[in-house]
Structures are given as C-alpha cells and as structure tokens.
Amino acid sequence: MEDRKFTKEHEWVEKVDQIIIIGITEFAQDQLGDIVSIELPKVGSSFKQNEAMAIIDSVKASSDIYSPVDGEITETNEKLLEQPELINQSPNEEGWILKMKPNNPEQLDSLLSKEQYNNLVGQSKE
C-alpha cells in the first residue's frame, strides 16, 4: 500500500511486477454509500487511459471506473458480483476491482501520489 498511486477519479493503483491492481479509495466508497452491484469488463479486453471500464451502482448513484492507463484486463474480482458490499467493507484489500497489464508503464508516473490525492479529497470535502 506504500507505493500506491491515485487518480482524480478516486481510484487507487498498485503495481505488482508487470501488472497493476485497481480499486476505489476509502473516500470514494464513503461518498458512494451502500454499493449494490458492479459490472466488470471481460478479461482480455483493452482500454485506453481514462476510458470507462466498469460501473458501480450504489443506492445513491451510478459511477464509472476509469482506466488509469492504456492496458489489457488480466483478472477481475469475481467475488464482487455476489458481494459488492466488499467494496464498502474493504476498499483497499478484499474489495479490489480488477487487474491490468499496462501497455506503457510510464503512464503510471503521471498519476497522483498519496499526498497529492489526500490534498485533492481534503479540498473536495469542503
């Protein structure tokens, strides 16, 4: 969790060897409220940076999960289909959403650091 990067769309991104794991932040799950369903992309499908690749429905709203980089889906968290509430309960661990293989790992450098992200949500809380 130390080296995680963040997006303005409230996702966290963790690099493990050649792949990245993506989830939503604690702040995002709290804002969304009770999450009741998720639509996941197919493994093997490709997305461009900032393209919507999954949809989370909470009792309050629907929100897209955007691809933080160009890449290909290598795995999705199928547990969430039966237990979408895992995202509320454990957004940083058990509630991870999907894994990707980035085409161009340098794109990760443009994402936010933990400090930058905390500043962002500190401001949008106001």
Partner: protein, 350 residues
Amino acid sequence: MRSPFFQNHLELKAKMVDFHGWEMPLQYSGIIDEHKNVRENVGLFDVSHMGRFKIKGDAESQIQKLITNDITKIGDKQSIYSPMCNEKGGIIDDIIVSRINSNEFLIIVNSSNIKKDFDWISGNIQSCEFQNITNDSALLALQGPKAINILKDMKVEQIENLKSFHLLEVKIDDVDCIISRTGYTGEDGFEILFDSKNVQIWKNLLEVGRKYGIKPVGLGARDTLRLETGLMLYGNDIDETVTPLEATLKWTVKFETEFIGKAALETKKVERKLRGFEIESKRIARKNNKVYDGQKEIGIVTSGGFSPTLNKPIGYCFVPVDYPLEREIMIDIGGKLYDTKLTSTRFYKK
C-alpha cells in the same frame, strides 16, 4: 435552512445533504441498514423540512376547490391525502389536509413547494386566517412495526385506538403534540407535530425506542422506503406536467366534487400511465433514463433505485396507457439496453 434537530444530526454523525435549501440528514448508519430497520423494527425521521400551513375559519368548501379528493369524507381529527391541481389538471403538489375541527385545518406540503403552495392557496382562500407555521414547528416521523410500542411506553393516551389517517391532540413528555397515524414508508407509523422549541422530543424518542431497536433514518432510506411502497415523489414522478390520472392517483380524484382542474381531467385523454419495473441484471435505472419497446422510445423513468427488501433494482416509468403489466420493455442505462418488465408500483405490501 436548518431543522430544529440540526445539532442532533451532527451529533449522530449523519451525512448531511442540501435538500431544496434545507440541510438535512441523507443517512446515518447507511441507507440499506436504516431501510431494513424501519421494515423490521422502527425508525425516527426528521421531516421538519416539509411545509406546514394552518387555516382558521370557514375553510372546508374552499379547501375542497383546491384538492381532487373529497374533503367531506373526513371528520374532525382526520386527515386526507390529495393532489392539488392547476386548471389544466397538472399536479401543483400532493398534500395532506388534516381537519382539526370544522374551523381549523392543517396542510402538510412538500418542502420544494412551500412558497408556490402558499401563494396558490392564499390566492384561493378568502376570509380565513392562513399561516405558514413551518419555521415555528417541528415534524418527526416514527415509522415501523414497533413505533406503537414507543408511544405506548411514553404513556400517550388513546394511542392504541388511533386509526390510520386519524389524529390525536395529546402530550408527549408534557409537550403539546398533534400525532397522526400516517407516513411515507408503507409501515405502521406516526407523524408528530409540535412547537420547534421542544427539541428534546428527538432524544426522548430515541431513548425510549432503544429497547425496540430504533435507529434514526435519513432522506436516503426515506426514498427507498417510499419507492418500494408505490408512493409518489413530487418532482420525480409527479409535477405540473403530470395529471393524477396518469400517475397512480386515480383513487384520489373524486369527480362528484368540485375542484380546480376537474374539467381538464374529465376531458383530457389519458395517454400515458405510471408503472413499476424490476430489473434482473442489477443495474439501477435512474430518473430520466429512456424506456424502449424494440427500437421505439416509449417513455421515461421517473424514479429508480435499489430495493433492499427485494434485493434488486426497481423503479417507476411512464409508458403508453395500453401497455399492460408484465409487458416486456427495455431501459437505456448509460447507453446500454436492459430487459425489464412492467409491474405494479406496489413492490412491497405489508
């Protein structure tokens, strides 16, 4: 604006939201948890944002002109739900009129319509005292199968004998209250009106309710509870472009009475109808999503949400009047069509 219980909500760490200019609690423990607790136990809602008007004087026949329902069907200390229509039959608001006695009436209106309704009613009522008491009073709703136990424990006289849509003028903890057996949840319950300085009532109800599992409930669960029950939300399902006959409010239109909008409702052909829908695929439809039959756009979603009781997405939509229940249609959610079928708007019945 803030309700008299604003500080209580902050103490309970509610997530607050702006609702038509009122800072109100959206949720405390979570929408689904609060929703289920109202169905199973009891919940306490601050609904002080609802508008409250008092009319004193010879008002009955004048109020009748304002509402589509039949006010002569209620006696003293009874309430009636009704749309209030304009000349075209469009719904200005849906309101509850309570008859305290032949010379005194109380009207509860939606918070979004307080000013509009006040102007409309004062323009149509003569030689009566007409007063907006919203800011001087507090309104709480105590809803759920165990609501009655709490008021019994608080020694509210005659509460067991109070019928649905009837009201009592009684004391709770030495505070003068008007309690009516009404609500917006589909459960047994009460709405309690009192002077806004008696804020301690909130804490007292929570304290006495503790052994019945009471929880405070925010506007989020208020919406999911009403949606499951087939109750209209002004601004979503009904507004001035919708008539009571298009909504599910035919039962409130009494053509044997005289009211503003009657001629329009008698002559205007009803072409669309509000229906319920359930979606199997778990995507939630939201207000203004389009409804399709094959390639053809046939209507629009007015309310959509997740039903904690059915554990699936539900909602209401307008479709052509000749579309029967069980008819299969599709809803466009984010550019993708989802199969669904038309149902009754009463997803939940006790």
